[in-house]
Assembly symmetry: C2
Homo-oligomer: 355 residues x 2
């Protein structure tokens, strides 16, 4: 039954993570606050919306950009509006529909999309919600390999990177939610692939679990250019950049003629008040390199095809998934912060309730 029964509606607790203050530099737990609110378990009469019970919250680096108060002169503009102090954080999540007045969505549907960092969210822009077609796979995958990060990896690597069999591919933040998918797609495409990550444990994961041909720990390398030369002696055809900064600068030096830089993320820069200065842009000309930024939001029309293809790879064990799962909304702020020190191993997510 769709919405509206005001008199009989149950009201329940709704814990949420709100922004306590705008952030400068690295975020801390004190920048966020757990607030106990309540929520009515139905869509208010007259409103077209979907009330979702959140099951899994995704922790993604781009949330950091929205935690800063930006003005027009900001040097890293944000692809969305700033979070508002005192209001709930917003990001992708997986949930179950409790009530809906939006056509096509019904109670107990499983969905993923833009939601709040809270137990229940009244989604008033329900066009951003997508129904989950493969509930036989772990639902948490829709925060990662089957959700925004996986689709980002796919759209960026395939559509922007345009791989050819035999290409040499370099991926940074390679064990993260996006990187682990890019590396495995590169192997499926017949490429040679090397990755960088921030610990020896992650480097081992890249080689043993994700099938990277080579990998290095960027924190223990004295010279990133030398590490790239060692792992990719013939240069780079595709650099899938998740980190920006010094790694991007070194990769530019090491690109092959006609190479492509898929500019996906710059996590190394998000906590800096002034971004690093990059000096090797001359290589873009001398090597006829294409550096292309993109957002997965430009490729949403291709999601259904992606979902089927990726679900197939997972079933066939061509794509492995490593998740870093914490339990309970109280632990969400720490999990988010951990992204920026590399504490997480694999896709970071928060489970509120397992289906």
């Amino acid at each position: 039954m769709a919405g509206g029964g005001e008199e009989t509606t149950v009201v329940v607790r709704n814990k949420k993570v709100v922004l306590r203050r705008h952030v400068t530099g690295y975020p801390t737990e004190e920048d966020m606050e757990i607030v106990a609110d309540t929520v009515r378990l139905s869509v208010p009469a007259g409103l077209t919306a979907v009330l979702v019970k959140n099951l899994y919250l995704s922790c993604d680096p781009w949330m950091r950009l929205r935690m800063t108060k930006h003005d027009d002169g900001a040097s890293i503009p944000v692809p969305a509006t700033d979070f508002v102090v005192g209001e709930v954080l917003v990001n992708y999540g997986v949930g179950k529909v409790i009530d809906s007045t939006y056509p096509g969505f019904n109670a107990s549907d499983l969905v993923w999309g833009m939601s709040g960092w809270e137990e229940y969210t009244l989604v008033t822009h329900p066009e951003s919600l997508i129904k989950i077609n493969h509930p036989e796979l772990p639902l948490s995958y829709y925060t990662g390999v089957l959700g925004m990060p996986g689709h980002t990896a796919y759209a960026g690597f395939v559509e922007v990177g345009r791989p050819k069999r035999g290409d040499s591919v370099f991926v940074s933040a390679a064990s993260g939610a996006v990187g682990q998918v890019v590396g495995q797609l590169a192997k499926i495409a017949g490429c040679y692939v090397a990755g960088s990550a921030g610990s020896d444990e992650k480097v081992e994961l890249l080689k043993s679990t994700f099938g990277f041909d080579d990998a290095f720990n960027y924190k223990s390398e004295k010279d990133l250019a030398a590490a790239l030369q060692r792992c990719l002696p013939h240069g780079i055809d595709i650099y899938f950049d998740n980190v920006g900064g010094a790694t991007l600068d070194a990769a530019l030096l090491h690109m092959r003629h006609g190479g492509r830089v898929v500019a996906c993320g710059m996590i190394s820069q998000y906590n800096l008040e002034e971004p690093d200065g990059l000096r090797n842009l001359g290589c873009i000309i001398s090597k006829a390199v294409r550096v292309e930024g993109f957002s997965v939001r430009g490729y949403l029309h291709g999601y259904a095809r992606f979902e089927e293809e990726m679900a197939g790879y997972i079933r066939e064990r061509k794509v492995a998934v490593v998740e870093d799962v914490v339990d309970g909304i109280e632990r969400a702020p720490a999990a988010l912060i951990g992204l920026f020190t590399g504490r997480n191993v694999g896709k970071q997510l928060v489970v509120l309730e397992r289906e």
Copy 2:
């Protein structure tokens, strides 16, 4: 008659510009030397080559890159080998065939292509020479609007920039050999176009002669970002970059979503030992910008079509040409150096002999 008459060959003087030493920082006249050599006015027996009398020498910024001795760690790699100390400088020029053993080329043919900075050049890779199809136009145009710079402007703007009617276009070094053509092609394509240049005289030229909608003198602007905001209030769809450095960094901030940066040249960086650090690369992601380097050498298959189209624009006075011409090979070094201080107004070239 093709080549070989050794006994009867005339030997004449052949003045040339040779590199005296590799260059660090800004080049000076002392880095080059005028040497009086001699040349036999025929192709030696057994050699497939074309002997060209050079009429016009082109001064192009990229020559500076070849004047430095590079090693593998160079941060601006060069798209060609370094010039050799004691040997003649090499660049595009316009000439007349004196003798040829290369099929299809005959004495008195007018050609342009890679030649030496000297009175006569024995071109031993004659496949780089192109016959001039429009000798009714000023031959010097084949160092500029009908030669490498014009073709660079055309290939870069049309193929890399992919303009749409109504696009907002920004061009740096806009009165130079490439920039003046880009701006006029942008107007022909129905774009709004603004340019930057290094003097008020050049800014006036952009508006009065080349039809730019707006222009600014980058040397007298305190804030490049503010100048861009004033001239292109809706942002930039295509930035045709000839200068790199601070102008590129400011343009990145001012790009529109889905904008294209045509990375053609970085003249502001060529004399620096360490290139400027650019901080606004985050905009590439947040605005889904494509930054693409290219070399006209990747588009040579399209030259004949370009030549016809551009010759038509010139005849129809849709494209104006401003040249900065100096007389005599002795003045070539100073003319080249002048590019890096912006002394030239328009396409810089050296005339050795007028046909």
